[in-house]
């Protein structure tokens, strides 16, 4: 079944189409949710709520080529995850950062296997992890992150800086020394 056929079926509220959509994308969306909320149960809740929302609003979805459906679903999951985090975590902390400090590079981290990178990211505190996920994995700008989390842009920058610094620290602690 092609993506356009799948979209058409789901727009007609076909149970077969909805199950097909779930079977096709639920695993990857579960992984996305898990990167934000850490626990299995919460990630399952977010996936369920995201699909409920997707089934309800898919009539208003306008496909823009292959892959647009997955991108749309992914955005729903990210928004649901952020909503979940906002209810449990205070992102609105004012943190100042000395602009003279050098920006930590992730060269050491990017050479790690994907599973190790993920494990390190999951060990970050919730605020750092969220900003890192949004900026590095989702590709959001600092302005978008600030809007999404309801924080200032400088706070978003500070969080990302600290996330990178923390990752580097963890990498050194665990004995990974790439490029040296």
């Amino acid at each position: 079944m092609t993506e356009s056929e799948l979209i058409h079926l789901c727009q007609q509220a076909s149970p077969r189409g909805q199950q097909e959509l779930f079977d096709r994308w639920a695993d990857s969306l579960y992984r996305v949710a898990l990167r934000y909320v850490k626990t299995d149960v919460d990630a399952e809740d977010i996936v369920m709520m995201s699909f409920t929302k997707a089934f309800r609003h898919i009539t208003s979805f306008r496909p823009q080529g292959e892959g647009s459906l997955h991108a749309w679903l992914r955005k729903i999951v990210v928004n649901e995850s952020l909503g979940w985090l906002r209810r449990r975590h205070n992102f609105n902390m004012v943190e100042s950062l000395d602009d003279t400090l050098p920006v930590p590079d992730l060269n050491d981290v990017c050479h790690l296997p994907a599973e190790d990178i993920l494990r390190l990211v999951m060990e970050l505190p919730a605020g750092y992890r969220t900003v890192f996920n949004l900026h590095v994995v989702e590709g959001y700008s600092h302005q978008e992150i600030a809007e999404q989390l309801g924080i200032s842009e400088s706070t978003a920058r500070t969080q990302l800086f600290k996330a990178k610094a923390q990752l580097k620290k963890m990498l050194i602690r665990e004995g990974f020394q790439y490029g040296t």
């Binding site: 639920a26 990857s28 369920m48």
Partner: protein
């Protein structure tokens, strides 16, 4: 975005496409549950609607049948009124249960007529009973000379209660077919109580009997 960041993004996104063990089926069932609940609510609503509509149809049908029955009864009464020249309709209400109460046969009229047995005349007592009593007394005295003779006074006959004849529907229908007999509709409980036939009623029936067709 830096090159290192792009590399991390690519690796993590590739990892997302890998299969993962999680409660996928349970999540799908949870996702389906509200929809099933909605379906069951719709099913209950549909069942309730069917019951309401069915009840309404049944009520309407019964109402129609009732009115049709009323019409038939009214038509039947009209036919009976036209058929019987002496038909007495006590009430135009067709809903009431009606049946011919009584039809009197000619021989019954004869049986009912001598209702009160008259007392024996004094002449008869003097002429016939007295010698008989005297002879009896003589015989008795001859047998029992100590006893005084007993004179028995003749007593008037006791009025016997008349037995009204109440006919059923089948018999009533048979009489209704005959123009020679009239009947009246039983309308209330007092009509069903047994009452002795009066002489005037017997005369009316006798008069009907003698009326030529």
């Amino acid at each position: 975005m830096e090159h290192s960041e792009q590399l991390i993004q690519h690796k993590l996104r590739q990892l997302e496409s890998q299969p993962v063990k999680w409660n996928k089926q349970a999540t799908w069932l949870r996702l389906e549950k509200p929809r099933r609940k909605r379906i069951s609510v719709f099913a209950y609503a549909a069942a309730a609607l069917v019951i309401v509509v069915g009840s309404w149809v049944l009520y309407d049908s019964m109402k129609f049948n009732s009115s049709a029955l009323h019409d038939r009864i009214a038509a039947l009464e009209i036919r009976l009124a036209q058929a019987g020249d002496k038909l007495i309709l006590a009430s135009p209400d067709p809903g009431r249960m009606c049946a011919p109460e009584m039809a009197v046969q000619p021989q019954e009229i004869q049986r009912v007529k001598p209702r009160i047995k008259p007392a024996l005349p004094s002449v008869l007592i003097a002429d016939q009973l007295k010698p008989a009593i005297d002879s009896t007394q003589r015989t008795t005295v001859a047998l029992q000379p100590q006893e005084q003779p007993t004179v028995t006074e003749p007593t008037a006959a006791v009025e016997r209660p008349s037995i009204p004849i109440i006919l059923g529907r089948s018999q009533g229908a048979a009489y209704a077919r005959s123009k020679r007999f009239s009947f009246r509709l039983i309308l209330s409980d007092p009509d069903l109580t047994e009452q002795p036939i009066t002489v005037s009623e017997v005369d009316i029936v006798a008069g009907l009997k003698q009326k030529p067709n």
